[in-house]
Symmetry: C2
Subunit: 151 residues, 2 copies
Amino acid sequence: MITQMNVRGLLFDPYNNAYIVILRDEQNSDMLPIWVGKSEASAISFALESIAPPRPMTHDLMKAILDNIDAKVLSAVVTDLKDNTYFAKIHLWYGDSEYSIDSRPSDAIALALRAEAPIFTTEEVLRKQNSEELERWLENLKPEDFGKSET
Amino acid sequence: MITQMNVRGLLFDPYNNAYIVILRDEQNSDMLPIWVGKSEASAISFALESIAPPRPMTHDLMKAILDNIDAKVLSAVVTDLKDNTYFAKIHLWYGDSEYSIDSRPSDAIALALRAEAPIFTTEEVLRKQNSEELERWLENLKPEDFGKSET
């Protein structure tokens, strides 16, 4: 079973100097917290807020390349979680074939948001991910630690 | 006239907390210093040192997408310098056509290095760029300021 997920927000994690992308399913019953680096968080944040930077950022370029050659982003799928690392695939349609390309979730999400393509994950990933870690992290967090709250 | 440039190294600029990509022509008579952000510098540095990260970084993904759909990077061209901002284009070959895509030089260089594609600039850009700025910067620099010297 595959579940569609929405990007609900980005949190700043001051303890790890990293960001957490919060994915939630449409019923708000499942959540995936994915830790990402600063530049990936910024790429995701620009797309969430529809900010058009004066020069194309890296994922804008990726989207422009795909647009130029008429390739379409079908979806981004968070496919696995192993040793605290999430894995993803970007599904592309081009010519008359589908291509599936290995990616970090941060890049897959940053690209999917720009292409207005859906983001999915599997039940297995949702089962594997242990939200206790995030809950502990949230409990220890002070309000001023938040970079940006959920939208 | 168009001149082929090689990436000769990356310098860390502690004053601006940024990096400088040094491009030189083959005769070592012309130089372009291009200021780039940390993540772009890291993308260029990984390619220069042929480091294969455990998971694909953003420009590795871009290269993987192009490889998957059989698009070839022909070249990266630094096309202009306006108000201290360099502009670049990535030239792609795909199907039976050439595509030229607007890019920041940092992305164009990071992608060209991965694709083993040549990097060019124009005489006009070389004429416009004022290396005095870099020379002043270098004169004021202490040896310990260097992140990585030229290779």
